[in-house]
Each structure stands twice: as C-alpha cells, then as structure tokens.
Symmetry: C2
Subunit: 154 residues, 2 copies
DNA sequence: CATTTTAGTTATTGTCAATAACAGTTATAA
DNA sequence: TTATAACTGTTATTGACAATAACTAAAATG
C-alpha cells in the first residue's frame, strides 16, 4: 500500500494521516481475526459495553456509543438475531427495555475477547513492551486532553 | 463522549480502540477546520497526491489511494467539478488521462495545506514536541513494521 | 384529564463504495 | 491484416450504513 516511487507530499508529516492509516490497518484485519460473521469493531464494542453494564436502556447505550437511536435499534437487532443480546421488559417503565447479554452472548463475548486480544497483539507486535506502553499513554493523551490551559508558573 | 460512570470492559486496554477513537477525533474536526465544502481527509489526500505527482493515470491514482477505479472516477469528478483537477488527454494512449492540478487547484491545495497543518497541530496540542515526535515514530512503526522476524543474536 | 415529553421503531433519504457490465483503445498473435 | 485478448475509464446496479423525520405507545406534567 506504500509506494516508494510516489511523493506523498504533506501527508507523512500529519499525525492525523498516520492515525487514520493505523486505524484502517487495525480495522482491515479485524474481521478475519474474529472469524467475521459481520462482526465489526463497533459491534464488538456494543457487546463489550452490554456485558460490563447490564440493564442499560437503548438510549443510554446509544449515547455512550455515539449512535443515533435508530442506529442503536439496528445494532441491537443484529445481536438479538444472533441470540447474544436480549431486550428485557422494564416493569417500572413499559416504554423502555433493559439490554442484557444472553448466556450465548456471554459465551460469544468471552470468545471474542480472546480473539480481539490476539488481534490487538498482532497489530502492535512490532513494538516492545515499553514502546507499547508509551504509545498507549500518548494516544490516551490525545483522546483525553487533560488540561485545556497549560499550567503556568504558579 | 467518555462517561466515567460506565464500565468500558476490555476496550480501554486495546490499542486498536484508542487508535479508532483518535482517528474519529481527528476526522470529526476536519471538516470544520478546512471550511467544509465536502472536503474530507481522503479527498484532501487526493489533491495532495496529484499535486506532488502530476500526470498520474486514474488507475495509478486509484491504486496508490487504495480506491477502486469507479471510486477514483467519482473523486476526480468531485475535484474537477470544483475546477481543481483536470484530465489531460494522453496522446500516446488515448484510453487514459493524465491527472493534473489546475491553477485554481494549486491555490486551493496551498490554502488547504495551511488549514490542515493547523488542524493537525490542534489535534496534538496536548503533547510536547518530544512527545509528538515519539508518537509519530511509534505510529510509523505500526504502519510500516520493519522486520517481519525479530533480529536474533546474529 | 389534556398536553407534552420520552422510548423505541419504522420509513425515507442520501452517501459511499464494491461489483459487474459496457465502450473505446491498445496489445498480442495467428 | 484480422481477430482475440487485455486494459482504461465510465456507467449501472446493488448493498451497507447512518441520519432525519414521522410514528406508536407509554410516562410525566400541570
């Protein structure tokens, strides 16, 4: 995908470009790593979130994942069709459902977690342990910029 | 977008997840940074590549960018409609076109480069110069894994 | 109660990319 | 030559996805 006879101009100097390429690299191998079945990183992350936070409503789940409510409905449908997620009636408010893993969903998640861990290890296999920790630290700094205003002498 | 009352399970331990979030963060601000007009990172990168490598054919451009030929046609149409890219007839092979920037395209690219540089700086503004260099180094290692097989004692 | 708000679904639309089919041109080879 | 194959670019078709709006049912408000 990288052609040494081509001039990439400004692109190699942009962090955003490097991030995008790494993200695509991760994404492109993901399906194969988890045995496909239409499982994308985003869909996997829904299973992960439902597993760790059982009983969320669909709106809550949508908000956390940055999805619109219709998109959440569809993704929940996806997992429900595979019998991994169930909508539980909420007796206190009959408009909403509590979203839960089924037994099959718990098992699917456990398997997926192992496959995803291995996938992630392959992605970063060219880095040493120290380098990986450093990379994670820096990415987290990008994702959660701590101080809006740089600390002054104070 | 990050809710401290939620358990994200395995996700925070995955480098792929951090990369995806950073990439989305970059992407989501990009349009505004460049004054929109439908300009996405990918479309910008086509302008950059055409500027640095004038005369490429559409198949060459598609290959470099990882696009299908129809997708390249559409994206070239996009820039041609904005009078930034021109298809030059190729006298040696009348099937193909040489893709070039127009004068307006060169000017648009120069403006875009400045805006994109500023956008990229904002993205990484929470890092020091050393940290940024380190991040770029590590990302490049992910994107271009140097040695398939770790060096043994030699 | 009547009205408004909320949860979830369905319908509609638009974007985007992939595949296949197509037209025109060039290369190959009988 | 001439016919066959391969290649460049476009168009048509399809499918995945997400966004918006419209809709139903069920609270909440007053």
């Amino acid at each position: 995908m990288f052609d040494p006879s081509i001039d990439y101009g400004l692109l190699p100097s942009l962090t955003g470009y490097a991030l995008r390429r790494a993200s695509i690299l991760d994404f492109s191998g993901f399906g194969e790593s988890v045995g496909d079945r239409g499982i994308t990183p985003l869909r996997y992350s829904m299973l992960e979130l439902v597993g760790a936070n059982p009983g969320l409503s669909q709106v809550e789940l949508a908000e956390i994942m940055g999805l619109s409510r219709p998109a959440a409905t569809l993704m929940i449908d996806f997992w429900q069709a595979r019998e991994c997620i169930a909508r539980h009636a909420n007796e206190a408010d009959r408009r909403s459902y509590g979203i839960h893993l089924t037994d099959a969903g718990r098992q699917a998640l456990a398997t997926l977690q192992q496959l995803v861990r291995e996938h992630d290890s392959r992605l970063t296999s060219s880095l040493s342990g120290d380098e990986l920790r450093q990379l994670r630290l820096l990415l987290d700094r990008l994702n959660h910029p701590a101080s809006r205003r740089p600390r002054t002498k104070n």
